[in-house]
Symmetry: C2
Subunit: 182 residues, 2 copies
């Protein structure tokens, strides 16, 4: 294992409503110096949830995504609000986005999204034992909820609007977990 | 399928060396208006490579990641340079980062990283039929190359510095592909 670099300074570079860029002044153990930019995490991270209805049906959403500029099929997700645990945030998000709460929430894995230049972490959560419960979200238009049979997972993987890395990974992890626990 | 929103304007908000924030002025088909921020993609996207040595050994790297502020175990990755195809970029990156070229490169999947607020795409590539070939990279210190037997994948999943979502997904996709093609 390498001796970690010394951090000489962390300085804000620029900010917008959503993004906070800072630079990290590093000196590696061999004396090499680098200034790297990263996106600072001002929030509490995010959750992405695999909601499983009646143990055989995944609930996805199709939502306009301003980053890619098109509708994307993905699992519900959102930011963790102040004072919420990741599992509480997961339960709130599925009430807002797919109209269900869950009695059984399980953390599959916490992942980094782009560790080289983002502090951000996302918690991937499996939600089971669902019950109908709708909470108001802040979406500009009603989200399309897309039910998908678990045994048609191969077909889901072929959908060309199902591109989000975190959703794809969550699907694999949920299937693995279910295989081991059923 | 929803009628997509009208894009009234895309305006630059702020820039740094690495990041370019812009706002997208949207009007949804129901008349709702929103201004969303996103990170614009000024480059050609990225590649992440699963290098497979002798069909039984994965090559990973352990590298200091300024975003999370610690050493992370992950597959080699990097930006696609101007004029390069994703597979050419993949081959260059593994020469720089794990000291091997590949005679057999296969695109597993192209993914979006965070479609809500990033334009960025990453191409996940499986590299086989490797041969020793070192190219100079721009790393501040030598990368630690970590060989991992494919049949010890479960153990790899348990490593607490193996957190990157794209690397985890690429591992699942590579294993699936190998199962179907061996």
């Amino acid at each position: 294992m390498q001796k970690p670099p010394r951090i000489h300074a962390v300085k804000p570079v620029t900010s917008s409503r959503l993004f906070h860029v800072e630079e990290v002044h590093l000196e590696f153990s061999n004396g090499e110096r680098r200034i790297y930019e990263r996106l600072a995490n001002r929030g509490n991270g995010a959750v992405l949830i695999v909601p499983l209805l009646k143990d055989d049906t995944l609930l996805l959403i199709r939502e306009y995504s301003a980053g890619t500029g098109r509708y994307e099929l993905a699992f519900p997700k959102g930011h963790i609000e102040a004072g919420e645990s990741p599992l509480e945030a997961a339960n709130r998000e599925i009430m807002e986005e797919v109209g269900h709460g869950a009695r059984d929430l399980h953390l599959l894995r916490s992942i980094s999204v782009s560790p080289g230049y983002m502090q951000h972490h996302t918690h991937l959560v499996l939600a089971r034992d669902l019950y109908p419960k709708q909470m108001e979200g802040d979406e500009p238009e009603p989200l399309e909820v897309v039910p998908w049979k678990l045994h048609d997972m191969e077909e889901l993987l072929l959908q060309d609007d199902f591109t989000e890395g975190r959703s794809l990974l969550a699907l694999f992890l949920a299937c693995d977990w279910l295989k081991q626990h059923q």
